[in-house]
Amino acid sequence: MNAPHSSARLPAPWGRLLDRSKPPVRFSFEGRGYDGLQGDTIASALLANGRWILSRSFKYHRARGPLTLAGQDANTLVQLPDEANVLADLHPIGKGLVVTGQNCNGSLDHDRDAILGKFSRFMPVGFYYRAFFKPRGIWKRWEPFIRKKAGLGELDLAFQPRYHDKAYLFADVAVVGAGPAGLAAALAAADAGAKVLLIEQEPMLGGSLNWARFDLDGNEAEKTRLLIDRATAHPGIRVLTGAVCNAWFADNFLPIVAGARLYKARAKQCVLAAGAFDQPVIFRNNDLPGVLLASAAQRLMRLYAVAPGKRAAILTGHDDGYLAALDLLDAGVAVAALIDMRPENDLHASPWREALAKKGVRVISGSTVYEAIPGKDHGRVAGIDVRHIRAKGQVEPWGEIIACDTLLMSAGYMPAWQLPCQAGGKLSYDDASARFSLSDLPDVLTLAGSLNGLYALQNTLADGEAAGHRAAAAALSRPAAAPARALHPEAPVNYPWPIFPHPKGKEFVDYDEDLQIRDIVNATRYGYRDIQLVKRFSTVGMGPLQGRQAALPTARLVADATARTVSETGIATARPPFMPEKLAHAAGRAFTPARHTAMHRRHAEAGAQFIPAGIWLRPAYYGNPAARERLIQEEAAAVRTGVGLIDVSTLGGLEIRGPDAVELLERAYTFAFARQPVGRSRYALMTAEDGVIIDDGVCCRLGERHFYVTATTGGVDRVYRGLTKWNAQWRLDVDIANVSAAWAAVNLAGPRAREVLARVCADIDLSPEGFPYLAVRTGTVADVPARLVRVGFVGELGYEIHVPARYGEHLWDALIQAGADAGIRPFGVESQRLLRLEKGHVIIAQDTDGMTHPAEVGMGWAIARKKPFFVGKRSIEILEAQPPLRKLVGFVLPKDGPAPLEGQLILDERGDITGSITSCGDSGALGKFIGLAYCAPEQAVPGAKLPIRRESAPGGRLLAEVVALPFYDPDNKRQEL
């Protein structure tokens, strides 16, 4: 787009954020090179070069230029190579930065989809609910076409996350916003001795002091800016600039996004001084490039030294428009006219009115811009149709065309309601005075400045100071002694009805979503009267910046159309985050650790393939994945015929000690432990109150009042929590310690296990009589202290050896070495599962589900029914008195057929589902496929045929044979060797 103005910048002190001593920064936009200055944003640099079209609108693809220049609208969303939807008015330029437009078909200047604007009358609000689905089935063809038009920018799908992190901050008082009110509050609180955190979104403290004008000669802001130096130098204030407080979470938990970091601040007290949103006027073509908020033009000049145009008009509903006009004149911009919506009678004499009159600026009162007229220059505003306001929202049928290349507008201010409302605040609006108020705030929150409806600088400062005092006193638990300073009376800042419908439409209420007045009004006519329904039906406020300019006009329109007040209508909820934040910010370092056992290194060296087990990693098997099945069979065979070694360190371990240790176990587990001899282990089964099996382990009695109880890898934390809770609830005297990570453990199993163990264990009698099955011993293994348990999980002679974790690797090495000539072989979880399956042992959470009670899986033997109580006893008794619903059975299938798979279904003869396979495998010891499955009780008869659903099999069924458990060594001779 060609520049209507030269690229010359205004002289200093215009351009407060620029560093003119640095060389220009070259970047590109839409394939063309531009020079900006250090301190420029993408938008300010482009505007300085006369480039005003920055984006295409969401629906109609209208050319759009900046509106707020404060990152509060979607008009400046641009595309970077690796980032979509970048706010050009916030993102700094950089050398070589490649920027393009987005959401356009062709180029930004020549967007073929701009034709859509011509069809807007065919796209009434909510049209898609009424179309595209008749005749039946046609929607499937429309949908892909419509989907393709969705979205704005394009994500870089090859993007790799970069470093982001988080930090915690604590403060007595957090002050959000460092404009005049925030600065005054921070200083007052810090002077009172509070530790203050001052959070400012812009790169520089000061807020409106940096760009707004408060008086005739523009000195007031400069004088007040001294507060910035005081705040910066104050030892009690920590300043965060370029930092957005993005939400208010319960109890003043404030997420603050700054650079690549998310600060999470907890403040005893919070002062919100976040300011207000300049409000657009709603008239036809209020979105043309060159039409922008008065505050945006002031920012452009003061912060970036760019004049918004050559000949400007101003449309205002309050006095600040006059001050903006003075700024324009100072910057050398001709002011064609100032149009004041207020009727002449409401205007009072003011120094700036006189000043404008003196400079020959024409003031047209009681009037509005009815339509902005696009020029030939790619649609930039070239003139305005000014009409006298006849009544609310109505204008005279004729008016005056005034030529201008820029229009500044401001209908008033709306307090930044988002954070206060997230804190539970209620936003009210008085229709008569057009004033906002916020109430029902929690007592840890204080508002200051324009959030309290104060806009005069002296009032804002006084209010900020009072808020700082109040917050500091509350945070430091001191009596509040805030100086009560009288506030000056203020003129209203909001023009009550800055909305002027035009028969041809295009009066944009929501720029982000391309919604016009009739879209909002028609939503209510369709019957969507609630503001939330209007939002959902029309999508107002659902755009990329949550439609912050649209909130107030929408509420006004809905209130008017439904004969209610704005307070009754309310304003749609403003959800966190306040500003769009990258997912990377919330994610931080994406830390997902896995736990390694003490022997992990040895497994890796031996070629283990690991699988997750809870938060641990365990060897599944050892060797090349290509030979997986063979390796598992070999490992299993080694255990059956020689000796194998498996790392079982991930098993949970609990020390249960104290006078009531037995009592706790008796109540928490189903089995009996009262008469369990010291030096013996017992199976320990745990059920929940509904009788469902939730965990199991082995309970070793080390002393009269001392037990060591194992739990499943995934269940130990829950078991520990439960035991701790019950210990407290039942008022028992038991010390419970979760020592899972303190012990490393292995299971040395196989017919030659005793022989291998004997080589590294001299102080325990390992003979079958001296250390029988289920016995527990403490002693020394490989010169380190150890607890040993004779277990039979895999169905062979086996010793579980527990040593302090730091000796884990040492124990592993010693046993591997001791077993070398016996052919010892490490085995993994896969072969262990196969071995225990051959023995018919269930694995909790694999062979049981959230409904399994002990009788269903043949574990009735593990219940001490004579005990007066254990958790789940009542339910188990009820369940066992009912006819059983299902049963876990063993089945076999011949090896010459297809293998069964875990999760496949068991059917009955009618084809109804009666259960499923929970475990299965290829048993080397039996030469068959074996498995465990739930089925109907009548199917659970050894010798019965069990139909397994398999689509590819003849008749859709495989027929397995039910067999008695265990599959292997039914007399338990081998484990009791």
């Binding site: 979509a84 939807n85 009358r121 065919f122 049209f127 609910y129 009424r130 595209f132 689905f133 039946r136 929607w139 949908e143 969705a150 979205g151 704005l152 920018g153 799908l157 993007f159 996350p161 979470f249 938990f253 999470k264 997230q422 028609n522 006519r525 369709y526 019957g527 969507y528 609630d530 939330q532 959902r536 039906f537 659902m542 909820t573 959800r575 966190p576 985050p577 934040e581 990258k582 997912l583 990377a584 919330a586 994610a587 994406a590 997902t592 896995a594 699988i611 997750p612 509904d690 009788g691 694999q846 589900d849 409904m851 999760g903 496949q904 279904l905 059917l907 084809g911 499923s916 689509e951």
Partner: protein
């Protein structure tokens, strides 16, 4: 361009036929009072009128139409549950959904994208195979995919997130999404056009009970006599039941979700991972919608938190690393009534004329049409539960007949 839009655009003063007339006055008595104007409530009203000719029906809504969990859910529609009882029920729901736009003459934008659930552990593979088998056996469309097939289906997905490499995936062809608000609007419009009274901003506060029957519902706008009551108030089920002295096996938790700013479409299927407690989908508007499991602590409140968002988004990035640079636009929460077995409670309550549609946890939206059909049938028959919902009766908890869906609901909704 569809004819209706052409006609609308070309007429000089387009005639607007409202979807909803202004709310009618509250009558003294209704045959049926439905408490809760969300999807379930209005669908029940719709089918009461349409299937059973019962139109003396009031739907009481304390806020606005569909403003509870109907407005807040993430609109996942699927039938790949674990138990045959659930799968039959949800298949019936999916079948109704497919035709719902034409049934309601209102485009709910039903979008059959397919749902991919990722298994990162062998126990998940086992459970997914079972769900796949049950779904296929009962007529749903599901497949178990290996890594290569997943890569072909979702090439942008990271198959090796952190310590949990993807082992397999449950591909549910019937998985779909829809415009959730439109479902409530379409049903409500159809119900109102058939004579049902919809009363927004009308909160049911208490009951008049005589001889174990609710004879009237007290609202802050007045007391309404009623023939029977249907309760469909997700998030407040236990509170309302408490007014009748009924203790429900329900714990209530917030459930949070969030969306990014809209970006150009890149993701068609709905992708979820229960091991990463996260699901990701792209809406018709181009937003990336991210959700997960319920909050860890019970609360009767829909508030957003930082910690849940942090964990959820870290996992979303593990699944799709490039999302690190996408921008979050909005986060919000709903309130979920969880039962011990993660299945709903439907049927008659211990009160003789008080019907329950409760305990919908995180899976209420996908059941909306079938809930409407079956609840209407239940009410019209005077309490005879249709076959499909008989397993979900309240007394299953005292008879140890739970319908355990815990594994099939967590984080995939």
């Amino acid at each position: 361009m569809p004819f209706s839009l052409l006609r609308y655009g070309l007429s000089s003063e387009p005639r607007i036929k409202p979807d909803f007339p202004p709310p009618p006055p509250l009558r003294d008595a209704y045959d049926v009072v439905i408490i809760g104007g969300g999807g379930h409530g209005v669908a029940t009203a719709y089918y009461l009128a349409k299937h059973h000719g019962i139109t003396s029906v009031a739907v009481l809504e304390k806020g606005y139409l569909g403003g509870g969990n109907t407005a807040r859910n993430t609109a996942v529609i699927r039938s790949n549950y674990l138990t045959p009882e659930s799968v039959r029920f949800y298949i019936a729901s999916v079948n109704l959904y497919r035709d719902l736009s034409n049934e309601l003459d209102f485009n709910i934008m039903y979008s059959e994208r397919g749902q991919l659930t990722l298994a990162h552990t062998d126990s998940a593979v086992r459970a997914f195979r079972q769900r796949c088998e049950v779904n296929r056996h009962l007529g749903g469309r599901s497949e178990l995919l290996d890594r290569q097939q997943i890569g072909e289906l979702a090439p942008l997905l990271n198959l090796d997130p952190g310590r949990l490499p993807v082992l397999a995936g449950l591909w549910h062809v019937d998985g779909a999404t829809a415009r959730h608000d439109a479902v409530a609007w379409g049903y409500a419009r159809g119900a109102v056009r058939r004579g049902v009274d919809f009363h927004p901003l009308t909160e049911a506060q208490d009951f008049v009970v005589e001889k174990n029957r609710v004879t009237a519902v007290k609202t802050h706008r007045g007391t309404i006599k009623c023939g029977c009551v249907v309760q469909a108030v997700a998030g407040a089920s236990s509170i309302l039941l408490g007014k009748l002295g009924i203790r429900a096996p329900i714990h209530t938790y917030p459930l949070q979700a969030m969306v990014t700013q809209p970006v150009k479409p890149f993701l068609t299927p709905l992708v979820s991972s229960s091991a990463l407690h996260c699901y990701v989908q792209q809406t018709g508007r181009g937003e990336i919608l991210i959700g997960g499991g319920s909050d860890p602590y019970p609360l009767y409140g829909a508030r957003s938190t930082s910690d849940l968002k942090e964990g959820l988004l870290a996992h979303a990035i593990e699944m799709f690393p490039f999302l690190a640079n996408a921008k979050l636009m909005r986060q919000w929460a709903g309130i979920t009534d969880m039962t011990p077995d993660y299945s709903p409670i439907m049927g008659l309550s211990p009160i003789d004329n008080y019907y329950l549609d409760a305990g919908w946890g995180t899976y209420g939206f996908k059941a909306t049409p079938i809930c409407g059909v079956t609840m209407a049938e239940l009410v019209a028959s005077g309490g005879k539960a249709p076959e499909l919902i008989r397993p979900f009766s309240l007394d299953r908890f005292s008879h140890f007949r739970q319908i355990n869906e815990m594994g099939a609901t967590a984080a995939s909704h």
